[in-house]
């Protein structure tokens, strides 16, 4: 027997994983003082790069896929795609000290356009009905633990997901540990809080900003990859990713810059995002009202943290500001 609650939770988790990747990546980026609003675009590019890799791999490989290559090729393609996007952002904002908001928003517009162009082209050329199916690769990504099916509700809630879901949670846990407990994390936080102080203490501010932006971007890109390869079962259709990128950024605020809180937050957001499906007899417009819930929760969190004004729950102090040593 599988209870409806377990069913809902498992759906919420699947829905939340892309948000978790996006928010973990954005938290790491923001800890270095870079407000990367290009995350939705980077996730989009992460998705379409993975799709391209998987598509050509499926096309070239005759017969059944080698499961190892079926995972590694889309993964590497996705990471490279989001890395390239992150490098654009880092170069513009850190090296050229361009406005972070403008750069980020431009990058999102660019990333979504890029994704729709290449993904859409592939879908039109090789897909059916405007969508491209990569079922063979997706099946590899979606392989769950074999015993999950025999454990009923418990198996569904805990063990039924593809490996990338577990990887995302592990990444979030590691990110929390690194940020809070290691020297690198301390230095990273110092860069985001007060780059001048970090600089005076001998920390290479530029290197940390580049590093955090690139690693954060690549983690966020995995969210896009998960969305295509696991959530949609390998089907690319333009615009399918929706507003999940922005939801990931909202999740950063909800998690008050803690990736570990982000894990729970992502499941909550995932649940709120699909709760309308589980409530019977809703009209179309009522469903849309429910879709607002994650954003409303975020606004409430913002209101509360702003009222309390506790220093630990505030964004990094130098968030959104470029650092220039000679500007003393």
């Amino acid at each position: 027997m599988i209870s409806p609650v377990a069913n809902f939770i498992s759906r919420a988790v699947v829905q939340g994983i892309p948000l978790l990747c996006g928010s973990t990546g954005e938290i790491i980026t923001e800890k270095s003082g870079n407000l990367n609003l290009g995350i939705p675009g980077i996730m989009y590019v992460g998705a379409v790069s993975g799709v391209a890799g998987a598509f050509f791999h499926e096309k070239l490989a005759a017969g059944p896929l080698n499961p190892f290559l079926a995972v590694v090729i889309p993964l590497v393609c996705s990471l490279l795609g989001s890395l390239a996007m992150s490098l654009i952002y880092a170069f513009l904002t850190v090296t050229l000290r361009a406005n972070q908001n403008v750069t980020g928003l431009a990058l999102t517009t660019f990333g979504i356009g890029l994704g729709n162009f290449y993904g859409g082209s592939l879908a039109i050329l090789y897909g059916e009905g405007g969508a491209l199916s990569l079922k063979a690769t997706s099946d590899v990504f979606r392989t769950a633990l074999p015993f999950a099916k025999n454990l009923g509700s418990v198996g569904l809630v805990l063990f039924s997901y593809g490996w990338l879901a577990y990887a995302s949670i592990v990444i979030a846990v590691i990110a929390t540990f690194v940020i809070k407990r290691t020297r690198i994390g301390l230095n990273l936080r110092a860069v985001g809080e007060s780059p001048a102080t970090a600089d005076a203490a001998g920390i290479n501010v530029t290197r940390y900003k580049y590093g955090a932006t690139c690693i954060g971007g690549m983690i966020a890109g995995l969210g896009g990859l998960y969305f295509i390869m696991d959530y949609t079962s390998g089907i690319w259709s333009n615009g399918g990713f929706g507003d999940r990128g922005w939801l990931a950024i909202a999740l950063v605020i909800f998690a008050i810059w803690n990736p570990d809180i982000g894990i729970l937050g992502s499941i909550l957001f995932g649940g709120l995002y699909i709760i309308d499906i589980f409530i019977p007899n809703l009209t179309r417009s009522q469903q849309e009202l429910f879709k607002m819930l994650p954003y409303i929760v975020t606004v409430i969190v913002l209101i509360f943290t702003s009222i309390r004004r506790k220093r630990e729950t505030m964004p990094p102090q130098a968030l959104g500001l470029s650092y220039f040593r000679e500007e003393r």
Binding site: R189, A190, S194
Partner: protein, 512 residues
């Protein structure tokens, strides 16, 4: 070269563009010694120290540590040579604990051990008598505790040469006494300590020797025991230079502005103005002298209604109606409409008065935009005013449509002052109006102020050059750490006298 010299600097010269910040300066500090560096604002003290700590690189000269010549290119190099600097503005991360700030940037195991660090911090604290909780967050610390963290940070890195840039500026007398105890203990421990300060009584109290700088020139180094405050002041301010500024006798003076017992705290909870009282008269120029940051900015802003006050009154006698009004109950705009004008020049000239990207006409409109009769902007009047200012004050500009940012410093200043005086103010406040200007532009500004004075305006002039203050002003009010330490007649005041009043510490002021 003395055998026990910890640090020696020889023939150090540093230029910033055309400006020579330091010319051929020398300095020696021995192990187990406290050396004071004394000088006015802009004398090059901090520049000199920044070259030891790796922030600036000298253009000429040599630095020796323990007798060996060294090259210091970055703060990291300085640490490697066991030099540590405690900056005037603390470099600390607010949301980190004291211990985290202290170990920041250090190499070591990737998983840092905050407990071990805390133990080492406790050991250092006990040795020198600091009181600090390593786990406390910086934003919960008082100013003096923050300073303690900075000092421990430097000691933690193993510094043997410590530089403190005006460490007592933010401290209460009791905290200062405690700091000095710590410094003496470090001295006994064989550390070489350099302390920058403006306060003569502190120099006399703490240091073994004093190096004096004046306007970027090295003046002298003397043993503290064989000198006195008067001699140090004379060396610091130098001989009087005659400037030949025209000064008319004030006539028809009337009390215009009465300031009584002003009190004000800054964001850190430090008292910035402490019981400041004076009267500004129409038809005279009241000079305000003081070391930078003694409360001049807050005082002017308080009168203009821009500063939150915790106590005191500002009474304004309206020359037209004869009514006395309390400016504390008025908004900045109401105060402006009464004729009180602030021509304030913050650190960067364009900061508060003008918008750099806008042209002269539009900047004139910043004061008159409310006067238009329709919803549309009325440009002809401001343009006439701009033309008038440009013509009368001889502003060098390619045209009225040039963004003011592109004008030179003197011309920007003229535009600002020109606008402020155009509507016939009754009180004109000018802070550092000649900072960075060449001689001719400076005299132009002096003449403008004098003209206002002759028109019966109460002019308040905050300046840094004592020669100018003595020759331009009628009376000089001296501020030191937010307190009034003297009110002098500028015609009879001596430079040394003002210098002494400026450097009177809080502690000394209370003892008198």
């Amino acid at each position: 070269m003395s055998i026990n010299a910890a640090l020696e600097m020889k023939g150090i010269t540093k230029r910033f563009g055309d400006l020579v910040a330091l010319n051929n300066a020398s300095l020696t500090v021995r192990k187990g010694e406290i050396l004071s560096i004394l000088g006015e604002n802009g004398s090059g003290k901090t520049t000199l120290m920044n070259m030891i700590s790796g922030i600036y690189f000298p253009d000429e000269g040599h630095i020796y540590i323990d007798g060996n010549e060294v090259v210091i290119r970055s703060p990291k190099d300085a640490y490697a040579h066991r030099i540590g600097m405690i900056h005037q503005h603390f470099k600390l991360v607010d949301v980190f604990s004291a211990a985290e700030n202290i170990v920041l940037g250090l190499r070591g195991g990737e998983r840092f051990n905050i407990k071990k660090a805390s133990e080492k911090i406790r050991a250092i604290s006990e040795k020198y008598g600091f009181i600090i909780d390593p786990a406390k967050k910086i934003y919960n610390l008082s100013v003096s505790e923050k300073q303690t963290v900075e000092i421990i940070k430097v000691l933690y890195r193993g510094a043997d040469i410590l530089i403190l840039d005006e460490p007592t500026a933010v401290l209460t007398p009791q905290e200062t006494a405690r700091l000095f105890d710590v410094l003496r203990r470090m001295k006994e421990d064989g550390k070489a300590i350099i302390i920058i300060t403006h306060k003569l009584h502190e120099v006399m109290e703490i240091s073994d020797r004093v190096t004096i700088l004046r306007k970027g020139e090295y003046i002298d180094t003397v043993e503290t025991a064989s000198t006195n405050e008067a001699e140090l002041t004379e060396k610091m301010v130098g001989r009087k230079v005659s400037l030949d500024i025209e000064r008319s006798e004030p006539h028809d003076t009337a009390d215009r502005l009465e300031v009584r017992g002003l009190e004000c705290y800054n964001g850190d909870g430090v008292m910035i103005l402490d019981d400041v009282s004076f009267t500004a008269k129409g038809g005279e120029i009241l000079g305000i002298a003081g070391i930078a940051g003694s409360g001049q900015k807050e005082l002017l802003e308080a009168i203009a209604g821009l500063q939150q006050l915790s106590g005191g009154d500002i009474l304004y006698n309206d020359p037209k109606s004869g009514v006395t009004e309390d400016l504390r109950n008025k908004t900045p705009r109401q105060i402006r409409d009464l004729g009180v004008r602030l021509s304030f020049v913050p650190e960067d000239r364009l900061g508060m008065g003008l918008v750099g990207a806008m042209d002269i006409t539009d900047n004139m409109m910043l004061r008159s935009y409310r006067k238009g009769k329709t919803a549309m902007l009325e440009r002809s009047e401001p343009r006439n005013l701009a033309k008038q200012v440009v013509d009368e004050l001889d502003v060098k500009t390619p045209g009225l449509n040039t963004p003011v940012r592109r004008l030179s410093g003197g011309n920007v200043q003229k535009v600002l002052v020109g606008r402020e005086i155009s509507e016939g103010p009754t009180v004109l406040m000018a802070a550092y109006p000649v900072r960075g200007l060449d001689i001719n532009s400076s005299y132009m500004i002096y003449n403008l102020l004098n003209k206002q004075k002759d028109n019966g305006v109460a002019v308040i002039f905050v300046g840094e050059d004592l020669d100018v203050l003595i020759e331009l002003c009628d009376r000089i009010l001296v501020l030191c750490q937010g307190r009034v330490t003297g009110l002098l007649d500028a015609r009879t005041a001596k430079k040394e006298e003002i210098g002494l009043l400026m450097t009177k510490g809080k502690g000394a002021a209370k003892n008198d």
